[in-house]
């Protein structure tokens, strides 16, 4: 009886199950062996990949890093060829502030572990690349980051799925054919494919990636180097003393980083050849489009430079080919070279990404980078972010986003964006009463490293609360995404906002600028807007700018035209804490934006205001009235009286013999009590 009942009950569900399984099995056979899933996949265990892994790990996210090499930082294991990094390792700044010190530490990644600062890994100002490899290895190990080494991702495709966070999954296939399914793909593969120029005879050219680094191999040779970046000059520097001469040939003129304020341009440490060129020591620089060239090898194995044009005319033997000097006997490159070396940099490896990802290159000026939005998300597929050096299209030749000391912050910004997008964790912020507004800004512009390194890319944002009695402070937001701030951060910007950015003076930086011109420094607060060196700029908006406004902003503006703008005057020491030179004008600016009085007052003044005014200034409201007034000391009070900002009430208002004449400055009109402080007088 019992058994029978059970069997009867069991029957129909079993049938249903079969029906249910049927379509799944038939239609999606691949799903039977679904690839392992990760929420976040990071491609590449270089500095950017490890940096992202760190933030994901701290947030407790499901992630993996895929690295084809057995250890992190494989690029640094090979490059730079001459092993000297040009990112500075400043071990002393005279300051204890760790955040400030990161302004001058170009190699460390961000972490909570003070042992993981690069200064513990090298004493050299320009450290050895081997130390970077060691550092990255330690970073991954000490923080126990989940890196899958020896895993080469050969192919990335999209798999549409409505359930997925972004409407699709990224399917990564490694060298063994194993697939990995990811909700979010973070590409931190860097730029590693050497740039090559295709011209006749380019097979005779040695590449930077394989050329000998032993100067002995260049003894008494004539060398031609193609390129004018740091790798070209680094190569030249190495052999400068042993060659007959070095000629450098490149498409455009050399850009000196101290003139452009861009660390990717030629750094002074590598520019020894400029010196010998300008002092006529046989070395030289030339400009020409490399694609017009041809290299011809003669019977002695020497190389001659000619034009592609001549080559097309006759396909004769090497010695018969027309050379420019045949017509033009003072042609600069008429000598024969023993070696031609190509040092043309690297580009992003687009090859592993399936077309469906629509990962395209960034256009004419930054072909070597994939195209991304200011939020570092690919324009082609949602959920694909490009990190690190490969993300440099956002601020190419402007800021430091292509370098460790820059992208460590942009990676953090991407992580904050993801935390809000997928985990409802709003962008971190601190909330303060409005009386702390000036302080918050002064603090950040004086210590924040992200603002300083990623100037004009990442900016702090202050969101005002209703009636401007309080504000929220958000750090290091990608400023070109300002219009989308609310969706990206999950914070509300209904009542106006300030944006704090660091900027060089307009027209100050550039390849041809004389950055040493007389009068280049500005010392007067009223001329602050003409400051040339990196200085804080504060934008005030009554409303969040729209996407249109951000996109169609004036050409030389970092942001759309604000309601008001303030420049804190540049400072030789980059220390913006001078009470009158820096803080006072900032306070006046903030006061006038908010139409309030942001001065601080001693408790005694607040006491007086409390009994003689119906309203109190914010400092008294938010301090004194909450029993946190500033009492001050006798010596401060004496200074206050001397300065005329405080009154000595013990001597005030004693009845006088002269018929009760009022002391100077007392109120002549009834109903309007004296404002005892200078500067609070209403002006006509």
């Amino acid at each position: 009886m019992r058994l029978a009942a059970a069997a009867r009950l069991w029957g129909p569900p079993g049938l249903l199950l079969t029906f249910a399984l049927h379509p799944a099995l038939c239609l999606r056979p691949a799903r039977t062996a679904a690839p392992p899933h990760r929420d976040y996949c990071v491609l590449g265990a270089g500095p950017a990949g490890l940096q992202m892994a760190y933030f994901l790990q701290r947030a407790g996210r499901d992630y993996a890093v895929f690295e084809r090499a057995p250890r992190p930082g494989s690029f640094f294991a090979r490059y730079p060829r001459h092993r000297r990094l040009i990112s500075i390792n400043k071990r002393h700044t005279g300051k204890a502030n760790a955040e400030f010190n990161l302004r001058h530490d170009w190699n460390s990644l961000l972490s909570h572990d003070p042992q993981l600062l690069f200064r513990h890994y090298s004493r050299a100002y320009f450290p050895d690349a081997g130390d970077m490899v060691r550092y990255l290895g330690d970073f991954a190990d000490r923080l126990r980051l989940r890196v899958l080494y020896n895993t080469t991702i050969a192919h990335v495709t999209l798999d549409k799925d409505r359930q997925a966070w972004n409407g699709h999954y990224f399917i990564l296939t490694d060298q063994t054919g194993q697939a990995h399914r990811c909700s979010v793909l973070l590409v931190a593969t860097g730029l590693w494919v050497p740039n090559q120029v295709d011209f006749p005879g380019s097979e005779h050219v040695e590449g930077y990636e394989s050329v000998s680094v032993d100067p002995k191999d260049f003894e008494g040779q004539n060398v031609l180097i193609l390129g004018r970046g740091n790798s070209a000059f680094e190569t030249a520097e190495n052999i400068l003393g042993v060659t007959n001469f070095i000629h450098m040939l490149s498409r455009s003129r050399v850009r000196l980083s101290w003139a452009t304020h861009y660390v990717g341009d030629l750094r002074a440490i590598n520019n020894g050849l400029l010196d010998t060129y300008q002092l006529k020591s046989l070395d030289g620089l030339l400009e020409s489009d490399l694609t017009d060239l041809a290299v011809v090898k003669d019977h002695e194995g020497k190389f001659h430079i000619t034009l592609k044009f001549f080559l097309e005319e006759s396909n004769q033997s090497a010695d018969a080919i027309t050379l420019p000097q045949d017509d033009n006997d003072n042609f600069a490159m008429r000598v024969a070279y023993d070696r031609v070396i190509r040092c043309l940099g690297w580009k992003f490896d687009f090859s592993i990404f399936n077309k469906s990802l629509r990962l395209s290159s960034s256009g004419e000026f930054s072909k070597k980078y994939p195209l991304v939005k200011a939020s570092y998300e690919s324009k082609g597929s949602r959920g694909l972010f490009v990190l690190g050096t490969a993300s440099h299209s956002v601020d190419y030749r402007k800021s430091a986003g292509g370098f460790i000391h820059g992208f460590r912050y942009t990676v953090r910004a991407v992580h904050r964006l993801l935390e809000h997008r997928h985990h409802h964790v709003p962008w971190p912020s601190t909330e303060h009463p409005i009386s702390q507004l000036t302080n918050s800004i002064v603090r950040r512009v004086n210590e924040a490293s992200g603002l300083y390194q990623m100037f004009s890319v990442l900016a702090d944002v202050i969101l005002l609360k209703e009636n401007a009695t309080a504000f929220e402070y958000l750090e290091e937001f990608p400023m070109q995404m300002l219009a989308q701030l609310e969706t990206i951060t999950g914070r509300k910007a209904q009542h106006g906002l300030f944006v704090i950015n660091m900027e060089y003076g307009r027209n100050f930086s550039g390849p041809d600028k004389d950055v040493f011109f007389y009068d280049r420094s500005v010392g007067h607060t009223e001329d602050a807007w003409q400051s040339n060196f990196l200085h804080p700029v504060i934008y005030y908006y009554r409303h969040l700018p729209t996407e249109q406004e951000v996109r169609f902003r004036p050409a030389d503006w970092a942001l759309p035209r604000p309601t008001a703008i303030h420049h804190i005057v540049e400072d030789f020491l980059t220390d913006w804490t001078a009470p009158v030179g820096h803080i006072l004008p900032l306070r006046r600016f903030l006061e006038n934006c908010l139409d309030t009085d942001l001065r601080s007052f001693y408790a005694e003044s607040c006491f007086l205001f409390a009994l003689t005014h119906q309203k109190l200034p914010p400092f008294c409201q938010q301090g004194y009235l909450r029993m946190q007034g500033l009492m001050g000391t006798e010596s401060l009070r004496r200074h206050g009286i001397e300065s005329g900002l405080l009154r000595d009430y013990a001597t005030v208002g004693r009845p006088r013999e002269d018929g009760g004449q009022r002391p100077v400055g007392s109120s002549p009109a009834p109903g309007l009590p004296v404002q005892p402080l200078d500067g609070n007088k209403e002006e006509l």
Binding site: H432, N507, F517, A555, H613, G679
Partner: protein
């Protein structure tokens, strides 16, 4: 110069309306916008002009032909008409503003219209455009302040109406809309509540009061207030300077000044408003014997010199300074450092002419955009920042506190109970508090077990963030390195000391015997602490009242450092509850000053309620109000009844007020007293209430939270219970007049900021090349190199110069020196 509040509200029709109803022709002739038959005494607005065509420039302004304009005028309604000739850029800006003003003006019953003037139109009302510019809005807002008249009769009517009441400022301007008209309107804006402003454009009227000079604007001051006999004419003083806002202001100031002042001081020391206005002083030297006659002479002279010099009567007898025997007049110039002149003059005319020939009336040109008048924005007006800066070179004995770093912080706060001050070296408020903190360290030197430490967050930013410190200054107390307690009291030595001392005992203290409890209540147990808290709180619980005990303990923890709390829950707790008539669970409050112990039942009170009960219990019924304790009493949100006393309070008064409190007459007030010896800033308060220091003691009621009225108890009455009660009743009934109303205005920015945006715009428009984006390709740059370079140096230089000229404080050598020094530095 201060302004009265903006007055938008139309006053009720004044009594002149009816009687002037018949005078409509004058109105039309006068182009008064107050339409037709009404109110010739109210200046409506501006001018009507015949104009024939109109062209649409501003759509939202109704544009009218004259005929239409007049047909739309309604009796009794004000309207604002703007007459324009063509749409010049300047008028457009004005029109934009006018446009914005339409809705608010309509709310006040003023309609707005624009009337176009044709260029050929020769009518005076169209006038020259410059003259027409600014007057309208002033007029629009002021139509009640200024009466517009056309006949002598009108003037006499006003004069008669105001005799014995108020003085009149009567002015003639050639046309409405002229700069003089504007100056008068601005003056009316400021002084309109004090004086009756009367305006005319009628040359006949000017001539009829004896002035032929119809080409220029004139202003007369009619001294009507002191005229009590209605048959007498008001005395008139003609202002001799041109009508500019500043001159009118100066002139009115001198009219306000006492006509004649008697002094017994050294003439060199005397100061009156005249000197501040740049006018000289004339001392008529008198002596006891001839006092009466001299006084009459002096008054006569004073009237003659009114507006030109200050006249004082100097009594030679009571003067210690030597005055030459024969001199009868002393003349003192306004310029500082010029010695006084001793004169011997025979008659009044020679005196007058001497003064007049010596008065150097400085022509102060007014210019709206004059930079010389702009305040110096670089002068520190933050009292905390300024005092800290001035004190920066005084070395502080910082070594009395332990400076902590990222490395030493954790070990230190674990090793010993510590107070940690988190501050930032660049922040003025925390540096000011650091001084108090050091003073505290000096006080506590060698006596406290508490380690005083500090962390400079400018150096140890991460440490401060980890300790959740994002604002400065913050004080935290660490006991055994954990659960730091944030100090939330006044940032001063005394209050922090109190916190540290009261934190020494656990909170609540566990009392273990009845005897100990009695000692606790009597203040014997913590003798040294009762000077920091005059109330001891004891919670009484039966041993089994666990929840109640927990709540009380939580409340005690919360009040740690601010109150003395104890807990008793032994088996014999009934001994105490019986003795103090308390029902368990209960609170005993022992007020040590008064020697009283009261009990409060605690049944079903949660921790939050208990905190509230204890906090309220700490308030006194008639406290001496101080800078430190005012905020606690303000929280009660009641009007304050303050007895100002110079020194200790008279026990009689205290008794009277306490009696009233007891009888619950003061429940709606917070009674308190203020000792000017302890709280000298009280003088500043009295001064703002009374202008001059009133005799003390003095009782006032300050309605801080609703309305801001201040009432003063009549000083001729004795402060007794009865008088006070009577006065308070009258107050309540609204029968007392307030002596002043506290200003309710918001705290605005004390000074403007640099407008960098306009500076950038100005530079950009001067040098359009500058605006050009640098989008030229690198390749092209090469060719442009030289040219750009030259451009650039010019660009950099010129705007700096033009803008600098604007800055008024340019000649500051110190700054210039500093600047060149900076250059040198950068060269290095």
């Amino acid at each position: 110069m201060q302004r009265t509040a903006w007055k938008y509200y139309p006053r009720q029709q004044d009594h002149n309306t009816e009687q002037n109803r018949e005078k409509s022709p004058a109105c039309v002739q006068l182009q008064l916008m107050m339409s037709s038959s009404f109110n010739i005494f109210r200046v409506g607005i501006s001018v009507v002009i015949m104009c024939i065509f109109y062209k649409s420039a501003v759509d939202s302004l109704s544009e009218l032909s004259p005929q239409k304009y007049f047909s739309t005028l309604q009796p009794g309604k004000a309207s604002l008409a703007y007459f324009c000739q063509a749409d010049s850029p300047r008028t457009s800006i004005f029109l934009e503003e006018l446009n914005e003003a339409i809705t608010p003006l309509q709310d006040y019953g003023i309609s707005v219209a624009k009337v176009n003037c044709v260029k050929e139109e020769t009518s005076r009302y169209c006038g020259k455009e410059e003259d027409l510019m600014k007057a309208y809005l002033f007029s629009a807002l002021l139509f009640n302040e200024v009466k517009y008249i056309t006949t002598l009769e009108d003037l006499q009517n006003i004069e008669n109406a105001l005799k014995g009441k108020a003085n009149i400022a009567f002015s003639y301007v050639r046309a409405i809309g002229t700069p003089e008209h504007r100056a008068v309107m601005e003056a009316a804006f400021v002084y309109g509540t004090t004086y009756q402003f009367v305006l005319t454009t009628e040359t006949a009227l000017l001539e009829s009061i004896g002035n032929e000079d119809i080409e220029n604007a004139h202003l007369y001051f009619f001294h009507c207030k002191q005229v009590l006999d209605l048959t007498l004419q008001c005395r008139r003083t003609l202002m001799e300077q041109p009508l500019t806002t500043l001159n009118i202001h100066q002139f009115i100031k001198t009219m306000e000044a006492p006509l004649l002042t008697e002094v017994t001081e050294d003439p060199q020391q005397v100061s009156t408003v005249h000197l501040q206005l740049g006018l000289p002083l004339v001392f008529i030297v008198s002596q006891q014997a001839t006092y009466e006659a001299d006084r009459r002479t002096a008054e006569w002279v004073a009237w003659r010199l009114l507006g030109k010099a200050g006249v004082l009567l100097l009594l030679r007898d009571s003067l210690e300074v030597d005055i030459p025997q024969h001199s009868n007049v002393i003349f003192r110039r306004a310029e500082e450092g010029v010695p006084v002149e001793f004169l011997v003059l025979d008659d009044i005319d020679s005196l007058i002419s001497h003064v007049e020939s010596n008065v150097h009336i400085e022509e102060i040109q007014e210019d709206e955009d004059e930079d010389t008048k702009s305040p110096n924005m670089d002068v520190q007006d933050d009292e905390v920042a300024e005092t800290v800066y001035r004190d920066r070179k005084r070395p502080l004995p910082l070594e009395l506190t332990v400076e902590l770093t990222e490395e030493t912080f954790n070990t230190t706060v674990v090793a010993s109970d510590s107070i940690v001050l988190f501050y930032a070296g660049w922040q003025a408020v925390s540096m000011a508090f650091l001084q108090s903190y050091i003073d505290l360290a000096i006080k506590l030197k060698g006596t406290s077990t508490m380690l005083l430490t500090r962390v400079n967050c400018a150096d140890w930013s991460d440490l401060c963030t980890k300790q959740n410190v994002t604002e400065f200054p913050v004080v935290k107390m660490y006991k055994e390195g954990k659960n730091p307690v944030s100090y939330v009291g006044m940032l001063g030595t005394e209050d922090l000391l109190k916190f540290i001392q009261l934190s020494r005992i656990s909170c609540p203290v566990n009392i273990t015997s009845v005897q100990e409890a009695e000692e606790y209540l009597s203040g014997e147990l913590y003798k040294d602490l009762i000077s920091y808290s005059s109330v001891s709180v004891l919670g009484l619980f039966s041993p089994n009242m666990t929840t109640a005990k927990e709540d009380f303990t939580e409340a005690g923890n919360y009040l740690k450092g601010y109150a003395i709390t104890g807990i008793y829950s032994e088996e014999d707790v009934l001994i105490l509850s019986d003795k103090y008539a308390a029902t368990l669970p209960a609170l005993l409050l022992s007020r040590h000053k008064e020697g009283k112990i009261e009990s409060i039942p605690l049944a079903n009170s949660h921790a939050q309620d208990i905190i509230q009960i204890i906090t309220n219990a700490l308030l006194e019924t008639f406290p001496e109000i101080t800078v430190e304790n005012l905020p606690i009493y303000l929280r009660l949100q009641k009007p304050l009844l303050i007895l100002f006393s110079d020194g200790s309070i008279n026990p009689q008064y205290k008794k009277a007020i306490l009696m009233l409190v007891k009888e619950k007459h003061l429940d709606s007030l917070t009674p308190c007293w203020l000792n000017l010896k302890n709280t000298p800033v009280g003088r500043g308060i009295l001064q703002s209430y009374f202008d001059t220091m009133p005799p003390l003691p003095l009782l006032v009621v300050v309605n801080l939270h609703s309305g801001g009225q201040v009432f003063a108890f009549p000083s001729d009455q004795a402060i007794t219970e009865q008088n006070l009660l009577l006065w308070l009743k009258k107050l309540e009934a609204g029968l007392e007049n307030h002596i002043t109303i506290l200003p309710a205005q918001e705290w605005k920015p004390p000074l403007p900021a640099y407008d960098f945006l306009s500076m950038m715009d100005a530079a950009a428009s001067q040098h359009p090349t500058r605006k050009d984006p640098e989008c030229t390709k690198e390749m092209d740059v090469q060719e442009n190199d030289k040219k750009q370079h030259e451009d650039k140096s010019a660009i950099i230089k010129e705007p700096i110069e033009t803008l600098r000229i604007k800055h008024w404080n340019r000649s500051n050598w110190f700054k210039e020196g500093e600047k060149s020094f900076r250059h040198d530095n950068k060269e290095l």
